[in-house]
Symmetry: C2
Subunit: 336 residues, 2 copies
């Protein structure tokens, strides 16, 4: 932790001058003020009084998520908030929109506003940013993202196995040509789900890479992917979508075309959002325990805030997924 002495030295002024400026007690020239401010910035120096004020405020954490309109993330937010409320914390949500410059802005804004901890459920956290946060004693828990390269606690699901569960189930219900709608491939979860699908089906004679189409983890993306897939392969009889949001879009597009679900085409999603039960037909999905994930993330983070001065944790918590079978795949088996 740097001191007022370090600031004075770097700015090339006396301690008394820095003190006058902090105190607003006596004259300091504009030019000197700028020099002192820059030195403070560079050293990450902050007067004790600021740290005190931060300590006095309500403890607050932030949840950075990529898409607030995706029910997976709003349900996750719900869980994080419930735990925080029990523990006397408030939560700020930040919507990064999967854009790295936005994520950077949020991290910067949160750091400057003395946030007590961050749950990071988005994509572009770099080692450098993580290091900056840790230097400022801000614990970080990463949710649902890459398992390596991060020097902090990580909570995630076995996406690869989940994808294979989906494909196996579609085959079991009699599907003979299964397509995949995938999420953005710079996102690890989307990658792993695609890999799980591809590794399972690539030995089948019907398989070809053009059975995969992008849906951008979005509702509209799911709708468009159905158009693309049906043009390429009018004979598909099963679709595995990399998240529920895209699967719901796919159901809509199929319905508009008068295609019967599940008898013409069966559809399976991934996530287990509440909405999957509400739509018609109800959606079969590989469910992540969304509430449990949010809860675990919040509890872990709050514990780390309590032990802020300990070394950063590097734990990886892997949570199991499970298949929930509903109308969108419940059809008479054609074989087996």
């Amino acid at each position: 932790m740097s001191t007022i002495k370090d600031v004075a030295k770097l700015a090339g002024v006396s301690i008394a001058t820095v003190s006058r400026m902090i105190n607003q007690n006596g004259y300091v020239s504009k030019k000197t003020e700028v020099r002192i401010s820059e030195a403070m910035e560079e050293l990450g120096y902050e007067p004790l009084i600021i740290r005190r004020l931060a300590d006095h405020s309500m403890p607050t954490i932030a949840l950075i998520l990529p898409d607030i309109t995706n029910p997976f993330f709003s349900e996750l937010a719900r869980a994080v908030e419930d735990i925080c409320q029990q523990k006397g914390y408030t939560v700020f949500f930040c919507n990064s929109d999967n854009q790295d410059f936005k994520e950077k802005s949020y991290l910067e804004a949160l750091r400057k506003r003395k946030i007590d901890g961050i749950i990071y459920a988005s994509n572009y956290l770099t080692q450098e940013e993580l290091h900056k946060l840790q230097r400022d004693n801000i614990p970080v828990v990463v949710l649902d993202r890459s398992s390596d390269n991060h020097k902090c606690t990580l909570i995630r699901c076995n996406n690869y196995d989940g994808a294979q569960l989906a494909v196996k189930h579609l085959l079991d219900t009699g599907c003979r040509k299964i397509a995949h709608i995938y999420g953005p491939q710079e996102i690890v979860t989307a990658q792993e789900r695609l890999n799980g699908y591809e590794d399972y089906v690539k030995s089948f004679s019907w398989y070809t890479p053009s059975l995969m189409a992008p849906g951008h983890f979005q509702l509209e993306g799911g709708m468009q992917a159905v158009e693309t897939l049906l043009l390429r392969h009018p004979d598909i009889d099963g679709i595995f979508a990399g998240n529920d949001f895209m699967a719901i879009g796919a159901l809509k597009a199929l319905h508009r075309k008068g295609i019967q679900i599940p008898n013409d085409i069966a559809v399976c999603g991934f996530d287990g959002v509440k909405l999957a039960e509400i739509i018609e037909p109800e959606l079969t999905t590989v469910a992540q325990p969304i509430y449990e994930m949010g809860e675990t993330a919040a509890r872990t983070l709050i514990e780390q805030i309590g032990n802020r001065d300990a070394k950063p944790h590097l734990e990886v918590i892997e949570i199991n997924v499970s298949l929930i079978i509903r109308e969108s795949t419940r059809r008479e088996c054609e074989s087996q």
Copy 2:
């Protein structure tokens, strides 16, 4: 704005002592520190350096909303964020859960963390809290709530007229006994929609107050309300739900009972969320221009932050709603 002199006076110590504490430059007893801290709190005093740090950080506003899982609010959040991004602002979202103590916590946390402005789309903002924010020079724009009693800019829709539009449309499609699923009556929008419904139908011979059932602005609430209403009045042929989230729940409950929509019972919602188009059957709704509302709120707030030292604005911006007719009410007229 209070000064270091006021703090010293209230704490009963010398200016030099306060200065030593702020500066962490020399000895101050624990007891004195506490006294000085209390005096600072009471006077709302903050050393110039803190205000400077706040100015240096990225400008950030907060959107306080009652329910992050309701798509109306996540779509609103989207709009607020788009504008903020254009203008170089970041946004923190706070989910108040319609609980006044949570709202208070958020306001306090935001105030302490030097937020630049607040869009308030929740329920319990008191005059006192508003006054505190204004004292700290934090502009507030209130969205979608009460039109009186607030000394700040207010953006809202004509809920009363919208409700009447819905009821009139249901009558036009041939409905002869229309029920209403209403939101929490401490929320002004829910109140106004209920009043709009009741004023329109109370002169009809079929009308009775037991045609109204609460749905708490929630999906599950809409489902439960259908159960209640059908027990009381098996002969209803139209439902006006006070928001889309409840209407979607109502559609689900009706579908599970094997009731044909719209021929047995027609359903109309309120809000105009994207999801209303995705579900089956597609939902007729009184649409608020959600994006425009969020956009206007964000633009107005950012303008006020730019003119922070001007008197608080008291403008009321009323935005029109419109009926969007879809499958859930599109049936053959029985009469007219």
